[in-house]
């Protein structure tokens, strides 16, 4: 190996280390914060923890109404209930997003009604409407159809945050599939639905994973809508519950809560990261 190549590899290794450190830093900070005692949080080092403690996590899962932490009594957080609500909302919404996006993408890219490109462009353009003050009219809407304080409010509003991109991704993939793929099925007398379910859908799997992971990322990043629509403590998702609690150095329940809730998302993302990338490649590049 020449000196030049060795140097290149050294630079590459250093850059990779930098990339990994930069990528994990805030996640490390938040997770670390969640296992600190109140005392260490104020007086300890920001970069490491000397006496890790799980009192904040215990507080999340306590059965009693009140619990004691750092010499102060605090109210219990119905975390398991919130986690269940979150799972329901994410699960149902994910199915809704993927089903509607699949249907729309198939309709646009395989059947190509007049102006189909413009429909897709218009959907993507909806991403441009600034979300900043949208929560107020959205709340009025949710209130008017009597969905406030109900998980349905989120199931109604989350899809619009993900569908435009999911439709774009899936339709870009369908557009590239050669017509011959379904033809043989048609010749054998299969209907459009059978051909879709038996032939097209199994091929679409990685793209569907990519779309689903995107939707999950968008949903798990929302605090605003959840916080506004779900005021009742017993009907909240984790994001809604956490957004109404005070964040302070003396009470780290929120930090423990968001860390506990982001763990499943991180695990799913880590497991599906490879498929996500393959799906994006399949949608974007011809013949891949």
């Amino acid at each position: 190996m020449t000196a030049r190549r060795r140097f290149d590899r050294l630079v590459q290794g250093a850059l990779l280390l930098l990339l990994v450190a930069y990528s994990l830093f805030p996640i490390y900070m938040v997770t670390l914060e969640s296992v600190k005692t109140e005392e260490e949080d104020v007086f300890g080092s920001p970069l490491y923890v000397r006496h890790p403690s799980f009192e904040w996590y215990q507080g999340l899962f306590d059965d009693e109404e009140w619990w004691v932490a750092g010499g102060v009594t605090r109210r219990t957080v119905p975390f398991l209930l919130w986690a269940g609500n979150t799972a329901i909302v994410f699960g149902v919404t994910l199915v809704v997003i993927l089903a509607t996006s699949l249907a729309a993408a198939y309709g646009l890219a395989r059947l190509r009604p007049p102006g189909w490109r413009w429909w897709r462009r218009a959907l993507l353009a909806m991403f441009l409407v600034p979300q900043t003050l949208l929560f107020l009219p959205l709340y009025q809407l949710v209130f008017r159809v009597h969905l406030d304080d109900s998980l349905l409010s989120l199931m109604l509003t989350y899809p619009m945050l993900a569908i435009p991109f999911c439709v774009w991704l899936l339709s870009a993939y369908f557009q590239k599939l050669a017509p011959e793929i379904e033809e043989s099925a048609y010749i054998e007398g299969a209907g459009r639905l059978t051909a879709f379910l038996r032939i097209v859908l199994p091929m679409t799997w990685p793209v569907l994973v990519a779309a689903g992971l995107f939707a999950l990322g968008v949903m798990s990043s929302d605090f605003m809508l959840a916080g506004v629509f779900l005021p009742n403590q017993w009907h909240q998702t984790i994001a809604a519950g956490m957004s109404t609690m005070d964040v302070s150095l003396e009470d780290l329940s929120v930090v423990a809560g968001v860390t506990a809730s982001s763990l499943p998302v991180v695990l799913i993302a880590a497991l599906l990261a490879g498929t996500y990338t393959r799906g994006l490649t399949a949608a974007m590049v011809e013949g891949a």
Binding site: Q12, L15, L16, V20, S23, F25, I27, M29, V30, E33, V42, S45, P46, A103, A104, G107, L111, P113, P114, W116, R117, W119, R121, A125, M126, L128, V129, P130, Q131, T132, L133, P137, L138, Q140, L156, T157, P159, M160, I163, P164, A172, A178, P179, E182, Y186, S220, S221, M224, S243, V247, V255, A270, A273, G274, T277, G279, L280, M284, V285, E286
Partner: protein
């Protein structure tokens, strides 16, 4: 001829070739296409039409908290904004923020994609690490950065960070630190998204294409600008557009995370301040909408750049 018509014509057997059955089949297909499209459109446009309409209407009235009957005032809110020096400062900040974050995110993303493109031991782990900033929920992520950069006063490292804060502001002008924190937050999340996006695109492009190009190019720098960038251009445009929308969304997240402090005046955070702290909803909605035409123009430009990759193969 579209693929769908091709299928229709072929499956419609010989009789289909002379008008009649083929066109009725096509009509059926179009009806089916709209039927399939309807639920998605309903969930996006159906849900958005009222909030967007409300925002547009409110921006034309003098609605404020405590005034039950809003009066129609025409474009008065918009002209008030245009005359306001504070607005122009926020607008300049917003353009700076979007320009800087877009360049940084593209740079981080390209770097990430190039680092991870070739195999090396431990690539799978490095890849997952690079993927996490985007996959990690935005709320806690921003909390992590924000607490580190602008810590509560009584944290042990609060004094050190506060000193750094003042040194930077002193050297580069007041507000620089706040601006940098906002930029960093968005760069961290968006850079990861773009990086994985570009890596996916790079994976689909045959290695020979890059190898041929490497023979032609004289330096790595030239190779980058003359080969890598043109090949990835459509993907860069699409990624840049998607991350632009996240740059806007992150501002409101940050607003919530920072306890509704105006960390740095931007158009949308200023609008939130006007609405939530000042109660001036008419003016605030006008401010959130005023940049929409500019964003739409950017989107049209992006469509031009990334639609070639969706052209029909036929």
């Amino acid at each position: 001829m579209s693929q769908a018509m091709l299928v229709a014509a072929k499956t419609g057997a010989a009789a289909a070739s002379h008008g009649g059955p083929a066109t009725s089949r096509r009509r059926q297909e179009i009806r089916l296409a709209y039927l399939l499209l309807a639920p998605a459109l309903l969930l996006v446009f159906g849900v958005m039409v009222y909030p967007l309409g409300w925002q547009i209407w409110t921006s034309l009235t003098d609605l404020f908290v405590g005034n039950t009957v809003a009066r129609f005032v025409g474009l008065a809110n918009y002209t008030a904004l245009v005359r306001d020096a504070e607005f122009w400062r926020a607008a300049a900040n917003t353009f700076g923020y979007i320009a800087i974050t877009t360049v940084l995110k593209l740079a981080v993303g390209i770097g990430m994609a190039m680092l991870l493109a070739r195999p090396f031991p431990g690539r799978a782990l490095a890849f997952i690490a690079a993927f996490l900033p985007w996959a990690y929920p935005a709320g806690p992520a921003e909390m992590g950065w924000f607490w580190f950069l602008i810590p509560p006063v009584h944290a042990s490292y609060g004094e050190f960070m506060a000193r750094l804060h003042f040194v930077v502001d002193d050297a580069l002008g007041a507000g620089t630190w706040g601006f940098l924190t906002v930029v960093l937050l968005n760069m961290w999340r968006g850079g990861s998204f773009i990086g994985i996006f570009l890596l996916a695109a790079r994976n689909g492009i045959p290695e020979q294409l890059f190898e041929y190009a490497a023979l032609e190019a004289r330096s790595g720098w030239q190779m980058f600008w003359r080969v890598t960038v043109p090949i990835l251009r459509p993907f860069l445009a699409l990624a840049a557009f998607l991350s632009l929308t996240s740059a806007v969304a992150d501002l409101s997240n940050l607003w919530m995370q920072s306890g509704q402090r105006d960390v740095y005046p931007m158009v949308w955070t200023q609008a939130m301040h006007l609405a939530l702290n000042g109660g001036l909803w008419g003016l605030a909605t006008a401010e959130t909408l005023v940049l929409l035409p500019v964003l739409l123009a950017v989107l049209m430009l992006c469509f031009r750049l990334f639609e070639p990759l969706e052209e029909d193969p036929s």
